[in-house]
């Protein structure tokens, strides 16, 4: 019994170890196989996430691959299961056959006569699964009889341990279970060896033995049955069925692939429909229609896409509108107008037609803007735009060029028609009243007209011609139109050139100051100088102000020039102050500066930015400027005077203004018009006028400066009149530096000479 237990234990241990090793190898092989398959699969483009294959094809191949994988796994499982079932069935069947053969073999073993084998043989032949049967004698070596099926190679006799069976028969209870070998399977052949045993009881136990007991029986082995079963036929049949099933399933897969492709296409159709719109979107097109059908996820995507497209379209249109139209008035802008003008020019040339371009500049816009503010200015522009749009025909084009400038393209209009249109625009504007903040304003305009009638001028030149014509209209007194004439344009072109040079000089600091002394006739007065502006041209030559100031005023550049002069004058004074040279500069201001709303603030800011006293600056403004807008001018002068600045009336007497203005104007100094001064020796009337002006100024408490003092007699006469300061070439010519008087700050050299 102990040996039996040890045998069972050792067999069990070996089995467990073998199974463990087998499973270890199996799992290792499975891991390697999985890694290899995964690597190979990833190399296939259809499984690569980086691939650009069709979504439908990817789905289809994934489904097919999955289906094939499932089928292979199912077939493998079915094969293993079926083989196991076949083996188990064979095992059970073999035990029944063995039991029957055990019974049938008794005569054979008793008689030892081979003739008794015929019964067994006829029985065995009924079962094709039995490959062979051998009947051994009790020694386990001598074959008593054997049966071999057709086409079966009989294995060698023996091959089993008869002694072990004998040992088992002695120790093991013979309880009805046959002593047999384990089933040994080799491919499709299964072998089982069973001993033929006989049992006898003890004689003295016969009368009262227990049927369920085991005592008193002895076992003897009289032979062995070696049974070989071949289940290859079943395996072949199984393989044939699997093969035929595989063919059928392959066919089903093929049909499923075709049907599945269509199903996937239909299922993904809403998604696939997005491909073309997305492609167009990627190419920058926004005129894309997106189908909103399909499943809710696709609908959500379509909605999002449609919303995005609409947003892009809206922004695109807004950008286009901003690019092509004026945001304030809604009229097309200069960029679009240029394109329209070019097309119109081409059309005119092609059709031998004539059209007209009108360049419109408002005359009072700046005044309205400065007086009432930008908001009012904007409202004026909008009303003007509406006025022009209503006035013009539907196929005409109205454009806002910027600021207070408009342009109108009138199609198929000859010279007479253009004149009528220009006149109507001027009249229309003349009749227009701008009412804002309870005030009424007359708005006038200047109109330049240029015809589009041949291919000699480009669109740009035509536009420039209209611009120059408008300039001419302005020059001629505004509130009028002017036809472009090629022969009269040279001066205009020259002025335009000057405007560019002025702009360039401001940008590149190409202005400079010269200083002309204003001599006090009383001693102990600080030196006074009038600062005079000069422009340095490209050759380094100084350009006198009479050449560029009128142009600057015409093109609205005078204001910036004034600020430049004020700032430079303060900087120079600051430098002189540091050197201990305290001077006072007379600075000329243009009329435009007084309508600049930022005038006071900017000047005060400049003063605060430099280390000078405000009374070192005397602003000169002409009688025309001061009287032209006396209320506004007085208000700003008073503000600046409060900061310490002083004001002087320049060219007093030239405008023949009422003297009463002088009485109320907050100026401290009066500079008498030089043309009167230079003729007082020879002209009795001028002498009387100067004397009167000096008397009146003195009566008003003003100091008097006499300009254009060109000789000693004039100076002596002016002294006799009681003037306070004298200025002119006799005293000193303008110089580049105030220090050119050899350090004689209080009395320049030439003055000293004069007094000598």
């Amino acid at each position: 019994m102990n040996k039996q237990l040890q045998f069972i234990k050792s067999s069990f241990g070996l089995c467990v170890k073998s199974v463990a090793e087998f499973l270890h190898r199996l799992f290792a092989d499975a891991r390697n196989f999985r890694d290899a398959v995964t690597a190979r699969i990833r190399r296939v483009a259809i499984f690569s996430r980086r691939g650009n294959s069709s979504l439908v094809r990817r789905f289809q191949i994934l489904l097919l691959t999955w289906g094939v994988a499932v089928y292979v796994i199912a077939v493998a499982g079915f094969w293993l299961l079926s083989t196991s079932v076949i083996q188990n069935t064979f095992q059970l069947q073999a035990e029944r056959w063995i039991s029957k053969l055990d019974e049938l073999s008794i005569p054979l073993y008793v008689s030892q006569d081979i003739k008794e084998f015929s019964t067994i043989e006829s029985y065995i032949q009924n079962f094709s699964e039995i490959s062979y049967v051998r009947f051994y004698n009790g020694d386990g070596e001598t074959v008593l009889a054997q049966y071999t099926a057709e086409n079966v190679v009989l294995p060698d006799a023996g091959g089993f341990d008869a002694a072990k069976f004998i040992e088992l028969s002695k120790n093991r209870r013979r309880d009805g279970n046959p002593l047999r070998s384990n089933f040994v399977s080799d491919e499709s052949l299964m072998r089982m060896v069973v001993p033929v045993s006989i049992v006898s009881m003890q004689a003295d136990e016969m009368l009262d033995f227990d049927m369920d007991g085991e005592r008193g029986e002895s076992v003897a082995i009289i032979g062995y049955i070696d049974l070989g079963l071949d289940f290859g036929e079943y395996q072949e049949s199984l393989a044939r069925h699997i093969l035929s099933g595989s063919v059928l399933i392959s066919f089903i897969f093929l049909i499923a692939a075709i049907v599945g492709r269509n199903l996937i296409r239909n299922a993904l159709k809403p998604l696939l429909d997005l491909h073309e719109p997305l492609k167009k979107l990627a190419q920058g097109e926004t005129d894309v229609w997106v189908n909103r059908g399909g499943d809710e996820e696709i609908v959500a995507i379509s909605n999002a896409l449609t919303t995005t497209i609409n947003a892009i379209k809206g922004r695109d249109e807004e950008l286009r509108r901003l690019a092509d139209y004026d945001a304030l008035t809604g009229l097309i802008n200069k960029r679009s107008f240029d394109a329209i003008l070019e097309k119109e020019r081409e059309r005119v040339i092609a059709e031998r037609d004539v059209s007209a371009l009108f360049f419109i500049d408002l005359d009072q816009f700046k005044y309205v803007n400065d007086t009432l503010g930008h908001a009012s200015g904007d409202r004026l522009l909008m009303q003007i735009a509406e006025l022009l749009s209503n006035r013009m025909r539907s196929d005409d084009v109205v454009c806002r060029l910027g600021g207070d400038e408009f342009a109108v393209l009138a199609r198929s209009v000859d010279g007479d028609g253009a004149s009528e249109i220009a006149a109507s625009i001027v009249k229309c504007m003349y009749d227009f009243l701008f009412i804002e903040q309870g005030k009424t304003f007359n708005i006038y305009c200047s109109v330049g007209v240029a015809l589009i009638e041949d291919d000699k001028s480009s669109a740009e030149e035509i536009f420039s011609n209209a611009d120059m014509a408008c300039y001419s209209a302005k020059s001629q007194g505004r509130n009028r139109y002017h036809f472009y004439e090629a022969t009269a344009v040279d001066q205009d072109k020259l002025d335009i050139g000057w405007s560019h040079r002025i702009t360039n000089a401001l940008a590149n600091d190409k202005f400079t100051l010269h200083y002309q002394p204003i001599v006090a006739l009383e001693k102990n007065s600080i030196p006074n100088y009038e600062v005079l502006l000069r422009m340095v041209d490209d050759d380094g030559e100084l350009v006198p102000p009479n050449l560029f100031i009128p142009v600057a005023e015409r093109f609205g550049l005078a204001t910036e020039i004034d600020y430049w002069v004020i700032k430079r004058a303060m900087t120079v004074l600051e430098g002189l102050n540091r050197e201990g040279k305290r001077l006072r500069f007379y600075v000329n201001l243009s009329g435009q500066l007084f309508i600049d709303p930022e005038f006071v603030e900017r000047v005060v800011a400049m003063l605060e930015a430099t280390d000078i006293d405000a009374n070192q600056i005397v602003f000169e403004l002409t009688e025309r400027v001061a009287v032209g807008n006396i209320h506004q001018a007085c208000h700003k002068m008073e503000t600046l005077i409060e900061h310490g600045f002083e004001f002087a009336i320049d060219d007093f007497g030239s405008g023949f203004s009422s003297f009463s203005y002088l009485k109320h104007m907050p100026v401290k100094i009066v500079k008498i018009e030089g043309e009167f001064v230079e003729r007082i020796i020879d002209d009795e009337v001028d002498r009387a006028m100067v004397r009167s002006m000096v008397d009146i100024a003195k009566a008003c408490g003003k100091q008097v400066v006499a300009e254009y003092v060109c000789d000693e007699d004039t100076l002596e006469m002016l002294k006799s009149f009681g003037i306070d300061y004298a200025q002119g070439f006799y005293i000193a010519e303008p110089a580049a530096q105030p220090a050119s008087f050899n350090g004689a700050v209080d009395i320049p050299d030439n003055v000293t000479q004069m007094k000598m």
Binding site: R174, S200, M201, A203, D204, M206, D208, F209, M211, I222
Partner: protein, 319 residues
């Protein structure tokens, strides 16, 4: 004449004495019946005189040797001891061969002049004892075990076939063909059974076999030819598995089975037949005191009928 007359008178007296003993046997020991099987005990067969052909011997002391302490052997031993006119002692062989040898040596060295071995093992162990009268009982294969050649006389283990067949015929009047399968060398006992079969107009088919498988095979072969089998306690051809298969096969085929072991009734036995201990002891006394050649047959039998099987076989069951 006088001598002849005295002899006749002595024999007649002995016969009378024997007849008295047989006609008034001691109450047989009750055998515990298995509860699940309903059995009916048959009426014992009428007593018949036992022929005695030898001259009585002088017996001083008798050793009764048991193979084991099973119920039937012990009962026979005790009953025999009570009937003996001389001293006697009951021995039981031990479980180990050493104990058995010691017991045999003790008997051999004792004053016993006769040794009665009850059981096969006991008979074979005392076979070596010399100078004492040897009698066996409850040994089926005494021929195969060469007991007679060893100087034994004995009593058959097979109950009276005559009584059995009489009861069997009562139970199954249509019974005509029966079969017995045993191991070899049982011709004498089978012949005696054959005589009884003939008496009851039964055709007995007998077949010798060598092992349990042959036994079953033979039963299957004989099944179509007979209505019933009488299983005899031949241990050489009996195994539990074989007996189960055999009985199962017989039941399936509606065969009537007479069994030698009461336990087998619940496995499908129709009739359980066993020896009558009183009969056995009488035959032993006859062998002890009046040595005869060979083996004495039994005249009686205890019979139990399995009502359930009888009903299943649709046999008439006598109340």
């Amino acid at each position: 004449m006088d001598k002849w007359f005295r002899s006749v008178i002595f024999i007649a007296a002995l016969l009378l004495l024997q007849g008295c003993v047989l006609t008034a046997p001691e109450q047989p020991v009750e055998v515990v019946k298995p509860p699940p099987v309903a059995v009916k005990k048959a009426t014992p067969a009428p007593v018949k005189p036992v022929p005695v052909k030898v001259v009585p011997k002088q017996i001083n002391s008798v050793a009764i040797v048991l193979s084991n302490n099973n119920v039937s052997s012990s009962l026979i031993a005790q009953m025999l001891q009570s009937k003996l006119h001389t001293d006697s002692h009951i021995y039981t062989l031990g479980a180990t061969p050493q104990q058995q040898l010691q017991t045999v040596n003790t008997i051999a060295d004792s004053e016993h002049t006769a040794v009665v071995a009850i059981g096969s093992l006991a008979a074979n162990r005392v076979k070596q004892i010399e100078g004492k009268q040897l009698v066996f009982s409850q040994v089926f294969n005494y021929r195969a075990e060469r007991l007679l050649e060893a100087g034994f006389t004995g009593v058959s283990m097979i109950p009276s076939a005559d009584v059995l067949f009489a009861e069997w015929k009562k139970l199954s009047p249509d019974l005509e063909r029966i079969a017995i399968v045993t191991g070899p060398e049982n011709k004498q006992q089978i012949d005696a059974i054959q005589v009884a079969a003939d008496k009851h107009q039964l055709t007995l088919q007998y077949q010798e076999v060598n092992n349990d498988k042959e036994m079953f095979y033979a039963v299957k072969q004989l099944t179509p030819q007979v209505q019933g089998f009488w299983l005899l306690p031949d241990h050489r051809v009996s195994s539990r598995r074989g007996i189960k298969d055999l009985m199962s096969h017989s039941m399936k085929h509606g065969k009537q089975l007479v069994v030698f072991n009461q336990t087998l009734l619940k496995y499908g036995g129709l009739i359980y037949v066993s020896v009558e201990p009183d009969d056995v002891t009488d035959q032993l006394l006859a062998q002890i005191y009046h040595t005869s050649d060979g083996v004495r047959l039994l005249n009686q039998a205890n019979i139990e009928i399995n009502d359930r099987v009888a009903q299943q076989l649709q046999l008439l069951v006598a109340q």
